[in-house]
Assembly symmetry: D2
Homo-oligomer: 331 residues x 4
Amino acid sequence: MRLALIGAGRIGQVHAQAIDAHPDVTLAAVADYHAEAAETLAQKYGARAIAADAIFEDDDIDAMLIASSTPTHADYLERAARTGKAVLCEKPIALDLARTGEALRVLEAHPVTCALGFNRRHDPQFAALKRAVVDGRIGDLETLSIISRDPAPPPAEYVRASGGLFRDMMIHDFDMARWLLDEPIAQVQAQGSCLIDPAIGEAGDVDTAMVTLTTASGRLCHINNSRRASYGYDQRIEAFGSAGMLQAQNESETRLRFTGEPGQVEDKPKWFFLERYAEAYRREIDDFVHAWRQGREPLAGARDGLEALRLAEAAERSLREGRRIALADIH
Amino acid sequence: MRLALIGAGRIGQVHAQAIDAHPDVTLAAVADYHAEAAETLAQKYGARAIAADAIFEDDDIDAMLIASSTPTHADYLERAARTGKAVLCEKPIALDLARTGEALRVLEAHPVTCALGFNRRHDPQFAALKRAVVDGRIGDLETLSIISRDPAPPPAEYVRASGGLFRDMMIHDFDMARWLLDEPIAQVQAQGSCLIDPAIGEAGDVDTAMVTLTTASGRLCHINNSRRASYGYDQRIEAFGSAGMLQAQNESETRLRFTGEPGQVEDKPKWFFLERYAEAYRREIDDFVHAWRQGREPLAGARDGLEALRLAEAAERSLREGRRIALADIH
Amino acid sequence: MRLALIGAGRIGQVHAQAIDAHPDVTLAAVADYHAEAAETLAQKYGARAIAADAIFEDDDIDAMLIASSTPTHADYLERAARTGKAVLCEKPIALDLARTGEALRVLEAHPVTCALGFNRRHDPQFAALKRAVVDGRIGDLETLSIISRDPAPPPAEYVRASGGLFRDMMIHDFDMARWLLDEPIAQVQAQGSCLIDPAIGEAGDVDTAMVTLTTASGRLCHINNSRRASYGYDQRIEAFGSAGMLQAQNESETRLRFTGEPGQVEDKPKWFFLERYAEAYRREIDDFVHAWRQGREPLAGARDGLEALRLAEAAERSLREGRRIALADIH
Amino acid sequence: MRLALIGAGRIGQVHAQAIDAHPDVTLAAVADYHAEAAETLAQKYGARAIAADAIFEDDDIDAMLIASSTPTHADYLERAARTGKAVLCEKPIALDLARTGEALRVLEAHPVTCALGFNRRHDPQFAALKRAVVDGRIGDLETLSIISRDPAPPPAEYVRASGGLFRDMMIHDFDMARWLLDEPIAQVQAQGSCLIDPAIGEAGDVDTAMVTLTTASGRLCHINNSRRASYGYDQRIEAFGSAGMLQAQNESETRLRFTGEPGQVEDKPKWFFLERYAEAYRREIDDFVHAWRQGREPLAGARDGLEALRLAEAAERSLREGRRIALADIH
């Protein structure tokens, strides 16, 4: 697979590395709004810099990875579909349901392999948890708890453009919830506060939130977000069922333990997503290539993006209105 | 302290053992609706069996422990107050706010040392967590998560008389939340399902529930209850703040680890409250005696019972009405 | 069982508490070289102070617990046997094989229930490990590792009278090795150093030692001793076999975990034997009473004391001579 | 760095992958006794197959990695030195001290960058332990314990040619001991048995062994080897000092925990060295390239190979003679 990357920023660089390490994918070209950024990244991996528009006309390019700024995602995605290129698009497709829905309709009209960047589904530990649930290790799944805390809050200006905590951060957890619960979600209840940075509150957002999802059959899911965990990236999932419990625990750089005056001390959790999800990004590329070759759906696709966004909308409305929201009311 | 115990059932027996082991308390008498039960328990600890009514006329008795059936609690509590006896009353005082409020007014009119059986405050691990929070170990407390799951569901007839999951089971977690958050709770949101035993649903109750509390300053608290955890009594608390996190983990009988074909295996959590809270029951008695001697308030008192019940009421209403309930509306 | 305690020092007090808590044993009398010490301890538990010699003439006393100074053990033990009293004797019977052997011969001539204070066999965690080995959980036992470190070194004058690290401290580990290996030990190899306190070296002893035992069938056992572990009492055992491994881990006061700047921090191990083996001391008394009643051997008896002492002698000789010692050569 | 690899077997393939992933090293050529094996591996990474002899005449090749069979190591190493090529040689240089000493003299006469394949020094966890010891985290280092168990025993014919457990397997642990103790080792004591496979005993070797090392200043080190751990590759190190303890724990594929009927279960340790030391092999290549570029010594060099072999010889002699061996007597 010859692949063009749009976006040479932080997440683009993560993907470039994963692409380079994959035996079956060649990083053919890199585009970025800042030409030098594209040039630098392209050079590092022996690719060429390219204008974004040129990608769609280049028959030598099989696939593209969209890691540019959020407002450009939907357009690039549609153009990829129309020009028959496989596409791996960073989440979100768009910050609103209408624009996301349009993009889905284009994809339906022009079907291509389309993966969405819900990287956590590819994390080895979460994947093992999913497998164990499917294999019936805990009997019937009854409740799910997802804890997801970033190490440090973003600047308020980022928050302003981000679509808010539910769309920007909890969107990953909504996707994990959908993937693990594996049945329609019926209701959403949200609560949130601004406890960390008043500027986030002034930007109209919360930095601490708890959401409860209820599925059609009554399973309950708790999601717990904070924009700041002083000890690093807190990424845990607990699945509880009739025959037991599965817990995905935080991962550390080493398992070295010191025992001394302060107690028994092990490393903090890995600092942030680059460290925690390095392997997930590699597997995401791998899944994308294999889906493209085999003509099958990738592990996470465009519709998953739409559905996670509906949950974010519902949560936002529940927070605002102080009541349980039926997901059926969110279009 | 010469103490009379009312109620020779399971929880009465737990208390009798703790009383017997305490150097400063003598189990003077045991009363029970079933005279033989009182007789048997009294004999075991060298006490005498007594009629409940006789306790209040016995000047030789300093204090009483009410461990009889729930509907009798409020009456006995009031009679203890009127006759000037210190009293340790099992929770709840009553299943409704009106009756509980009456008992509190009697206590105000006839002040005696009055402790309420919120045993978990006396658990060494939770007490250490509380101390660490107060000492500022995690900076400003921002969120709290309380997981509390019983090993096996009670029979539906028990459920019917219990006042429901929020009053009967989550009441302990409401108390822990109040104690640890240490500020007024403003709002309550609840969600619940019947996933374990349909008979519980037919009795009008849920067996699986999640509640979100919000304090006046915006702190969030998640409570997670299930009537059945196949692996034993699941009793964990996580306090998260600006400078870190505290986790009270489950306790096991031993720390023995087996590594072999199935993986690295440690013991299950202790089976139920008798095992998990044995030390808490001892410390509860100790706190009661010291409070009585020193004329100070016990760690948990009658008002804590009322406040926890208000939270249970709010949760029930929220579950029913599908909306956030302001605690100020619960009287 | 009406029991007299000889020795009102630290370990005597531990036993007194365990005796008092046992429903089937009465602490009838306390003797001590210092009459006031006996008086104080006796009073605390409603017993009477007594002269040591008077115990043996008191038909009302069924049993005695010898917790006096080491040089008195063998004499008291023999007198207990001759006067038909059950006896629980703190280890060691004596510091040399000859005197220990004599006492054993007296016990053979005058058989009474005789337990030796190898308290660790009664520790719930080690007992669970033993049971799992016997049950075949790890297949054939191949190697054993015993780590035993005291929190702080004793004063050099204590060391001088103690018989040395192998007789005073590692004696417990020799007993655990014998108990767990459950087959004759054939060879002993020792190595030791004085790394902690030069005064210990000047007293002719080591403070850090490693010993390797080999059983008749070739099983290997490593024992690791240090007189000082800054973090508390380090008491671990690892049994390794053809089908897996069992690890008895250190125990802490709580399972509370703090995650923050320094990492993920749990409590240090319990500080010393009073904390770590409180339950073992209770079970030791319980085993003693039951052995006495049922006319069976206690879990650890006088012969175990002799055999552990032979291992200590062999280790000392190996350290001195720099070679492997056949246990058959130690009489 | 343009590198030629000799040996396309299992360990050669591991190195090829690590070389390919390193941005600064090019796998230029692959040689193997079996021409097809060389061809296949070369093709996989875009290198050319080459005859081993041709490497030394190729000016285009900067360095070579010797991963061929043990008896060829010393010759290739000497030829690399004589032709001025940097060399990373798999351990051991040779199975006897004489041949190893010769190779060292050639290296002295023809100095090139020479690294020896003691991969464990490059393991992130052991490296972190080393750093913590050097930084004084545990005060003065007093004792060291190294546990090293393979998942399954090799066939007896392998054992026969391997030089025996001390030279073939414990050699890694001797190197870790030297590296971590960081002071001359004075004495060696060994004990060993054949408990797993009688054919190993018939081949004149042991499959289970314990060794005690003593340094010049009296530090003690325990090494614990087994040829078979049913649960996977058991690789742990414990460093104990005046101010605390460091423990490098086993690593698992995930941190997923299941709690249910069998208890609290986590993954077994990683299966074998390919899984456990994948990162170590990458860092080994990285250290080699940097040492070559900077003209400094690699983390492990030829002399470390000789010294570890001396310890193996001493252990073997101690096992045979049943006594402590002074390392000064091993030449």
